[in-house]
C-alpha cells in the first residue's frame, strides 16, 4: 500500500517529526512516499493544482478555514466521519479543532496536533540579571520592557515580517482584549468590536510595543529573532511553540535557559493545528490506504512521538504528556479547561481577510506616527471588503 503524502514540513525538526508517521505507517505494512514542499502556499498550490489536474496525492497537509471550505464544497476531499465516529474524535479533541474540521456534521480532515500560537519565550538569565520576573500581563510587559531597554537589552526580539508582526498583534488581542474580542475580530468580523474602547486600548498597547523592538527588526527572519534570545541579546520573543525547535537546536532546555509563558490576564491559548486532508478518489486500494493513514496518524504512540519532535501537543487530550517538556505540559494543562481554548485566526478568518488584516497590522506597526484610529479604520474596511 503506497501512500504519497504531500506536506510542507521540511526543516530538520519537522522532518524528524514526519518520520514518526512514516515509520509507523511502514510498521503497519504501508509504504510512505514523502513529498515535501517548503512553504505552505507553495505546497497547497501544488496540491490543489494536482487535485484539479486529477492526479492528487494520497494525503496532503492543509489548513482549515475558507480554503478548506472550498475544497469540501467542490467535493475534492473525502470525509472521514466513519473513522471519527469510531475513534470518538469529538470527545477527545478540543472543540475549536473539531469545529474547524467538521463541515455539514462530517469530519473532512484529520487533525494531528495542536499548536499554541501566542507563546512568549523569554531568556531566564537576562531576566534574572535585571532582577525582573517574566511579565504576566501586557502593561507589565511594557514596564519591564522599558527597564530592559535601559539596560541595553532588546526587550522584544521580533521577526520583522508582516506575518510575525500580525502574530504578535494577535497575542496582544487575545491576551489583553480577551478571547471574545479575538473571536469577534477574526470570526464574526462585526465592526462593533473595533469601535469599543477596550479595542482601542489594546491597539494602543500594541502600538507602544513598537518601541520595544530593535531597529534591525524589519525584514528579519523569525529564526534570527529567536537567535537573539538564545544569545542573550534579547529578553522576550513571541512565537508559536514551533520556536522551541531553535532553542533545542542550540542545545537549550525549556525551563532552564529559557522559559515559556502565555501573557494575559487569564492565560488563553490560541490554538490551531496541522490537519491532513484525503483527496477524493474512487480507487479502492487508495481508499484503504487512506484509512490506514488515518489510523496511524491518530495512534497514541505516533501522536506522542510526533508532537515531541514537532514542538506541539497531541491533538488527543487523552494522551499522557508527562514525558514531554515543560512547555508542552503547560500547554496541555491550559487546554484542559475548554474555556482557555481559542480558535486560531486560520480557523476563524478567510485568508482574504487575514491577509488584509496583515497588511493593516504591518502598516501600523512600521509607522510609529500612525494613530490607533487610522489603524482601526483600516481594519474596518478590511472587514467590509472581506464580506
Amino acid at each position: 500500500q503506497k501512500a504519497e503524502v504531500l506536506h510542507w514540513w521540511t526543516s530538520a525538526g519537522e522532518s524528524a517529526s514526519v518520520k514518526v508517521f512514516a515509520d509507523q505507517f511502514t510498521k503497519a505494512g504501508g509504504t510512505w512516499v514523502d513529498n515535501a514542499i517548503a512553504g505552505g502556499a507553495n505546497a497547497r498550490t501544488a496540491g490543489i493544482n494536482r487535485m484539479v489536474g486529477g492526479n492528487p496525492p494520497t494525503m496532503m497537509q492543509f489548513n482549515t478555514g475558507k480554503q478548506f471550505d472550498e475544497l469540501v464544497s467542490n467535493d475534492l476531499v473525502r470525509d472521514v466521519e466513519a473513522q471519527a465516529k469510531a475513534g470518538k474524535w469529538r470527545d477527545i479533541m478540543p472543540k475549536p479543532i473539531v469545529d474547524a474540521t467538521v463541515r455539514d456534521g462530517k469530519f473532512f480532515a484529520v487533525p494531528v496536533n495542536i499548536h499554541g500560537q501566542n507563546w512568549m519565550f523569554y531568556n531566564t538569565k537576562v531576566f534574572a540579571d535585571a532582577g525582573l520576573e517574566a511579565p504576566k500581563t501586557f502593561p507589565e510587559l511594557i514596564e519591564s520592557g522599558e527597564k530592559l531597554k535601559a539596560k541595553g537589552i532588546i526587550p522584544i526580539a521580533l521577526g520583522g515580517q508582516p506575518n510575525w508582526e500580525h502574530n504578535l498583534f494577535r497575542a496582544v488581542v487575545v491576551g489583553h482584549g480577551g478571547a471574545d474580542m479575538f473571536r469577534q475580530l477574526y470570526g464574526t468580523r462585526k465592526p462593533d468590536v473595533v469601535k469599543s474602547p477596550k479595542f482601542k486600548e489594546t491597539v494602543e498597547l500594541f502600538g507602544k510595543m513598537r518601541g520595544l523592538v530593535d531597529p534591525g527588526s524589519p525584514g528579519r527572519n523569525w529564526n534570527d529573532a529567536t537567535a537573539l534570545v538564545i544569545t542573550n541579546k534579547a529578553a522576550m520573543h513571541f512565537n508559536g511553540d514551533w520556536a522551541k525547535g531553535e532553542f533545542i537546536a542550540a542545545g537549550q532546555t525549556a525551563g532552564k535557559e529559557y522559559g515559556c509563558t502565555v501573557v494575559g490576564q487569564e492565560p488563553k491559548l490560541v490554538i490551531g493545528g496541522d490537519v491532513f486532508v484525503l483527496p477524493a478518489t474512487k480507487d479502492k486500494t487508495a481508499l484503504a490506504t487512506q484509512d490506514k493513514l488515518v489510523e496511524v496518524l491518530l495512534d497514541p504512540t505516533s501522536q506522542l512521538e510526533f508532537n515531541k519532535k514537532k514542538g506541539s501537543i497531541p491533538v488527543r487530550m487523552d494522551v499522557d504528556v508527562s514525558s514531554m517538556d515543560v512547555c508542552a505540559q503547560k500547554s496541555h494543562a491550559i487546554l484542559k479547561d475548554p474555556a482557555n481554548q481559542v480558535e486560531s485566526m486560520e480557523i476563524l478568518s478567510p485568508p482574504n481577510f487575514s491577509g488584509a488584516m496583515q497588511d493593516a497590522v504591518t502598516q501600523y506597526w512600521n509607522n510609529p506616527n500612525m494613530p490607533a484610529d487610522a489603524f482601526i479604520e483600516k481594519i474596518t474596511s478590511a472587514m467590509r471588503d472581506a464580506g
Binding site: 498550490t45 508582516p162 478567510p350 504591518t362 512600521n366 483600516k378
Partner: protein
C-alpha cells in the same frame, strides 16, 4: 531581337501563382504552427482568461460569475496595490538606469585592455546565476543595521554612522534596487561590452588625432553607437522588472509595512495565499494593460510592420 517568341503555352508550366505560394510557404507556415498555437492558446488564451476572471468573484477556485468592475474599484482603493504600483515605477526607473550606467561603466573599464579581464567579467556576471532565495538573506544581513554595514562602520569607531535603509519605510525600496543592480548589472555589462568590441577601430584613432579625451569619446561617440545593445538590454531588464518577485520575497517580504510591495507579489499573494483569484487577476490585468500600452507601439514599429526579407 526576337519579338515573335512563341507564346503558345500560356499556362505557366510550374503551376499557378497560388500553387507556388503554397509550395514555398507551406513548410514555413507549418513550422510556425506550433508557436502560433501556443501563442493562441497559452498566451492569448491565458490573457483573456485572466481578464475574464478579473470580472468575477472567484476566490480559491475560478468561477465564472460576473461582478462587473467591483474588483477594480477594490483594487484602486487598496493601499497595497497603489504602493506596489508606485514601487515598481521607482524600482523600474532606478534599476534599469542603474544597470545601464553601472553596466556601461564596467564594460568601459573592462575594455581598457586590462589584465584579468576574464576574471573580472566572471565576477560581475556570477550573481546572475544565483537564486535569490538565499542571496537575498545575505543582502538582508549586510544591510541590517544591527548586523551588517552599519555595525561594521560603527565598530570601527564611527558611532554616529547610520545606514538603515532596509528598515526604513521610505528607503527600503532602494535596498531592493541595490540588490537588483547587483544581480542584473553584470548581464548588462556583458551585452554592452560586446557592443564596445564592435566599434570601428578607426573611430578611436580619429578621436585620438582630434585630441578628444577618452571619456568624451565614450559619451559622445561610442554610446550613441551602442543603441541596439542598449535596447536589447532594456528589453531583458524590463521583463525582469515586471516579474520582480523573488528578490522582494527574499529580502523584505514586502516590508517594512508594505513599503516594498510590488505588483507581481500582489498578484502572487492574492492568487495563491489569500485565495482571492479575482482581485489577483484584476491586478494582473492592470499590469498587462500597462505593459501593452507602453510596449505595443514599439513592438509594432520595430517587429510587426517590417516584413520578412523576401520569398
Amino acid at each position: 531581337m526576337d519579338t515573335i517568341s512563341i507564346r503558345a503555352p500560356s499556362m505557366p508550366s510550374g503551376g499557378t501563382k497560388a500553387q507556388r505560394r503554397v509550395k514555398t510557404r507551406l513548410p514555413a507556415a507549418i513550422a510556425l504552427l506550433p508557436t502560433a498555437l501556443i501563442v493562441l492558446i497559452v498566451y492569448i488564451g491565458c490573457m483573456l482568461w485572466t481578464v475574464r476572471l478579473s470580472f468575477t468573484s472567484s476566490t480559491l477556485l475560478p468561477k465564472l460569475d460576473w461582478v462587473g468592475f467591483a474588483q477594480y474599484s477594490r483594487l484602486f482603493a487598496n493601499d497595497r496595490f497603489l504602493t506596489s504600483a508606485s514601487n515598481i515605477v521607482i524600482f523600474g526607473a532606478l534599476f534599469i538606469s542603474g544597470c545601464l550606467i553601472i553596466g556601461f561603466l564596467l564594460a568601459v573599464f573592462i575594455d581598457q585592455n586590462i589584465r584579468g579581464e576574464g576574471l573580472f567579467r566572471t565576477i560581475f556576471l556570477y550573481p546572475y546565476s544565483m537564486s535569490f532565495v538565499v542571496t537575498g538573506v545575505a543582502w538582508q544581513w549586510f544591510l541590517n543595521p544591527g548586523l551588517g554595514l552599519q555595525k561594521l562602520v560603527r565598530d570601527m569607531g564611527f558611532e554616529s554612522f547610520t545606514f538603515d535603509w532596509l528598515v526604513n519605510q521610505r528607503m527600503a525600496i532602494y535596498t531592493i534596487v541595490i540588490a537588483g543592480l547587483w544581480h542584473g548589472a553584470g548581464l548588462t555589462m556583458a551585452i554592452l561590452l560586446a557592443g564596445l568590441r564592435g566599434v570601428d577601430k578607426d573611430l578611436w584613432k580619429a578621436a585620438k588625432v582630434d585630441g578628444i579625451p577618452t571619456w568624451r569619446v565614450y559619451t559622445s561617440v561610442v554610446l550613441p553607437l551602442l543603441r541596439p545593445m542598449v535596447v536589447t538590454a532594456v528589453v531583458l531588464l524590463t521583463t525582469g522588472v515586471v516579474k520582480l518577485y523573488d528578490l522582494v520575497v527574499a529580502m523584505t517580504l514586502g516590508g517594512p509595512g508594505i513599503a516594498t510591495e510590488v505588483p507581481a507579489k500582489f498578484v502572487m499573494d492574492h492568487l495563491f495565499e489569500r485565495n482571492n483569484i479575482a482581485l489577483g487577476t484584476a491586478a494582473a490585468t492592470i499590469m498587462l494593460i500597462t505593459v501593452i500600452s507602453i510596449l505595443a507601439p514599439w513592438v509594432y514599429v520595430r517587429y510587426v510592420r517590417p516584413q520578412g526579407r523576401h520569398a
